[in-house]
Each structure stands twice: as C-alpha cells, then as structure tokens.
C-alpha cells in the first residue's frame, strides 16, 4: 500500500485515506486566452514520466489539499508539502 505523508497532520497515512486530485494545475486561464490556450488548459495533461507534483486530498483525515511529489516511473511517493505560499494559481 502506498504511504503518504500529510503535512497538516504531520503523520503518514495509507493511500486509502487519500484522494488523488490531479497533477499540479497550470496557471489559471487569462481573460485574453486564445482557443489554443483553452484547449490546452482543458484537455492536455503533462503526462510526465518521472517525478511529478500532484494535488492530493486527505479525505478521511484533515480534509485538506496538499502537494505530493511522486515518481511515475516507480510509483513511489518522494515527498509531500503544504500548499502554503502557492497562491491562487498554485
């Protein structure tokens, strides 16, 4: 079972207590976005082969979102950190 550290609870939990959200979002769409920007924002995923930063939700715990770095080549979780300092576009 995947073990994931929750930075808010300061403890390690089973993957089953967590919900995967998505890879870390790009910047929000600007008002003057082109069609290409919108298509990119809606449909294109980074699909990274290697370490990727992702949003996870501690659904059966503190119910807060945080960032997890996971290596998609090995499926291993490398680190977690809180969303502090990420701002609205984080």
């Amino acid at each position: 079972m995947q073990s994931i550290y929750c930075p808010y609870c300061d403890a390690v939990f089973d993957e089953e207590d967590m919900t995967f959200g998505s890879a870390k979002r790009r910047r929000l769409l600007a008002a003057d976005s082109t069609r290409e920007d919108v298509v990119d924002y809606l449909f294109m995923d980074a699909n990274v082969r290697g370490p990727v930063e992702e949003l996870w939700y501690h659904s059966f715990g503190c119910r807060r979102w945080f960032l997890v770095t996971r290596d998609t080549r090995s499926n291993l979780v490398l680190s977690s950190r809180s969303l502090e300092g990420e701002g609205q576009d984080g």
Binding site: D40, F43, R49, R70, R73, N75
Partner: protein, 443 residues
C-alpha cells in the same frame, strides 16, 4: 433473443451503413499451418518449422513506418500490404513483438456501444474477428461465450434500459437476463440478498467473448511479414523528424529511418514522441491491472463484469480465472499499479464468487492504458503532414485491433480519415466536439 432479425455475421458487414470492405480472403503467402503440415512435421519430429516472421533490420528509408509492434501496429501494417499493396512498410518495436500492452490485456472482444460512431466501429471490429483465424492462417481462439454485466442497483438497471435500444439500433445484441436465466447460466454466483451489493439484475451481450492476445500479434506479424513488411524488434524510436510541416522519418536507437508517412501505434510513449515534433496529445498513461488464479475445472461460462464491484473475469482455456480490475485512480508508467485498486476489485470478485476465494493467485501484473478526456480513442490525421495517430483506447483497445488496423491503413493511403473513424480525429478537441460513450464502460 430480441425480436430483431439475427445479425448476418457471415455476410459482408455494413456497420453504421458503411461498407468496411471485409475481405477474409486468405493471403496465399500465409498458408502453411494445417492439420496435414502438423502431422507431417510431427511424424518427422519437427525438422522444418521456420520462424513465423522474418527478423529484419532497418533500411535507411521506407514509404511508411509504423511505430509500435503491438496488435494495432501490426494489423495496420498487414492491411497496408493486403488491401493497398503497400510493401515498403516497417513496423519498429522498442522491445519484443507483442510484448507491451498487447501481452498485458485480458483479450475481451465485444461491440455493445450506445453511440453510433462507437457502435459502427466496434461492430466492424467484431465482424473482423470472426474470420480472422482463417484469413491469417493462425488460430485467434475467438470464444463467443457472451459477456454478462451485473447490476447492483436500480440506478444501474435504469441506465441500461436507456442504452439498450441504442445499442440494438447500432446492430449489436444486448438483452436483460431473467433471474432464472442468470442462475442457470452462472450457477456459482452469489445470489444472497444480504451482501454489501446484492445482484439485482444482469444483461448479456451474446456476441461478446474473448480471443487470444498473443495470436493477434503473432498472426498479424506472420501475415504482414509474408507480404513483405519489415518487422524490426528491439529498436526504440526516440523522436520523429519533420521538414516544412511534414514528417520525413524517425530517429531510432539504430540511427535515423526515413519515411513519407509515420503512424504512432504506441501506448505510454505516445505523448513524448508526439512532443518531439510539437504535437500535444490529450492522453494520460494510467495503469490497468489483471491477475490469474491457479487452474480449476470449468466454473465460469461467460465473461462476467461488474462496474459496482470493480472487476471483470473469465476462465481461460487452461482453467485459470482471469480477473481484471478497474483502472487506477492516478497515472504511472511503472506497470505495477496501485494496491488499493487491486484490493477493491478482489473484494468485489470474492463477494460475487465466494466459492473461488480460496484459489491461489499465480500471477498479477499491470499494463498501461492511454486515456483521453472523453474516454474515446484518437484515430487519424495530425497537424503534421504524413503523421498519423492510433491511440487513447483506454481499456478497450484489444477488441479494436482488426478495425483500427483496417481503418488506419485506409487513412494513411488516402490521407483522409476512413468514414468509420471520422468522429475520432485529434481535431475534435480543438472543436470541443467530444465523443463520449458511457453506456457500459471500457472493458
């Protein structure tokens, strides 16, 4: 059965009113496997079997290069040679032939889709499977045993009622089973009402079943090779090459190979290869897991699938129970998958088949599926001239192997999408014309 006339499976198929030109004529060059050759070779202690396909090394250039030697790539090469006379074709495979996700899937063939575009495409594929063993002179072990879907709530029953007439209108069979029929077809199933998710109903797709994944890869490879296609194994394609907006070849571990047309038939590496020429593909690589138990005497008569219980299962010819899980929640290229997905599917299987819960698992594995935002495949042209893509089938790619190969071969030669795949072009994402089919799920 329903009141509809029986489907003319042996006649030429016109799914969705489109003549797909099914032609099960056996290519002369792929004769050779028969009872008489088996007897002759057997009595003489097998002195003269030859390799099923030539081991080719890459020439400096080809008319058409197919990237990926799985079922789809090999089928595309075969139909290019057989239907279009294209002989200067190479299939370039990073590993060994059919050793990627073709080897990792559970080989279900079926065609019950509600959307007209999906219905016509997958029905064409199901037609093609029926004559394929003879055409390729290679036993595809197609077992038309039926696919039974279990429903555990009135909500699921309502959704099925909604889709049933659409599926039938597309030419596929699909009907509810009564409680007595389900008991007689699958007597081992747990029908207690005091389980977490009691079975409240079931439906059957009688033309569904299973085939043999290795046979598909090997059969298409053997036939394509006999028609002159070069099959190059152990040679990874690292990048695509373009000039003035058109493809001119690929870079491989063994050097550059020129081509006037390139077709991507890979899973996992598709986004990376497309990115080498600035093309974005809306794909996420997601693990899909499966496992087999020790062999037992026949106990499962159909393919059994349950969305609520997160599993589908069938019994192989050897007696092993083959169990597939729901796709993982998050992406990975590790080919192992998430244990929580595995445990959820196993719990579901054991609730439906408590009598099988003590069977030992012999193997468990993960493959990769490429999933699109609308969970429909991407087939056809790209903004780069001469570059074509076949991918994004999610968990449903194996059954599409013959139709994907046939339609992609047509598309490459005519530089225009085959009518059966016109709805599945990459440009649908630019147009916001997404093509979901949520009738029964991907497996």
């Amino acid at each position: 059965m329903t009141g509809k006339p029986p489907l003319g499976w042996a006649s030429a198929a016109r799914p969705g009113g489109i003549d797909i030109g099914v032609n099960h004529e056996v290519a002369r060059s792929v004769h050779g496997y028969s009872l008489s050759t088996l007897l002759r070779q057997g009595l003489a202690r097998h002195p003269r079997w030859t390799p099923a396909w030539r081991r080719a090394s890459a020439k400096t250039s080809y008319d058409i290069v197919i990237v990926g030697g799985g079922g789809h790539g090999l089928a595309t090469a075969y139909y290019l040679a057989k239907h279009h006379g294209q002989k200067n074709v190479a299939v370039i495979e990073a590993s060994w032939l059919g050793g990627g996700n073709t080897a990792r899937n559970t080989a279900i063939v079926r065609s019950e889709y509600a959307s007209a575009a999906h219905g016509a495409f997958f029905l064409a594929s199901r037609h093609l499977w029926d004559g394929l063993s003879r055409e390729l002179n290679f036993n595809q072990m197609v077992s038309t045993r039926g696919v039974i879907r279990l429903y555990h709530s009135e909500f699921e029953m309502d959704a099925t009622r909604l889709h049933m007439s659409e599926i039938q209108a597309n030419g596929s069979d699909w009907e509810f089973l009564s409680d007595a029929e389900l008991r007689s077809l699958e007597p081992l199933m747990n029908r207690n009402r005091d389980t977490r998710f009691p079975i409240v109903g079931a439906a059957i797709h009688r033309k569904g079943g299973i085939a043999r994944h290795d046979s598909a890869a090997w059969g298409y490879a053997r036939a394509a090779s006999a028609l002159g296609v070069d099959i190059i194994e152990g040679c990874r394609v690292t990048a695509l090459r373009t000039r003035d907006g058109s493809v001119v070849g690929v870079d491989t571990e063994q050097g550059p190979v020129g081509a006037r047309a390139v077709c991507l038939c890979v899973v996992g590496a598709a986004t990376e290869l497309a990115a080498t020429v600035g093309i974005k593909l809306p794909l996420r690589a997601i693990p899909l897991q499966a496992m087999v138990t020790e062999p037992v005497k026949p106990v499962l008569n159909h393919v059994i699938a349950s969305a609520t219980q997160n599993f589908y299962a069938n019994q192989s010819a050897k007696g092993e129970i083959v169990i597939g899980t729901h796709q993982d929640e998050y992406g990975s290229f590790a080919q192992i998958g998430s244990q929580s997905t595995l445990m959820r599917s196993m719990a579901g299987f054991c609730e439906v088949y408590p009598a099988l819960r003590n069977l030992r698992l012999m193997r468990h594995w993960g493959g990769n599926i490429d999933v699109t935002p609308d969970e429909s495949p991407i087939l056809g042209l790209t903004p780069i001239g001469g570059l074509y893509v076949d991918g994004g089938f999610g968990a449903g790619g194996f059954k599409a192997t013959p139709a994907a190969g046939l339609t992609m071969a047509h598309t490459i030669v005519h530089r225009e999408s085959h009518p059966l795949i016109a709805s599945f072009g990459l440009d649908r994402f630019n147009q916001g014309a997404l093509r979901p089919d949520t009738s029964v799920g991907a497996h």
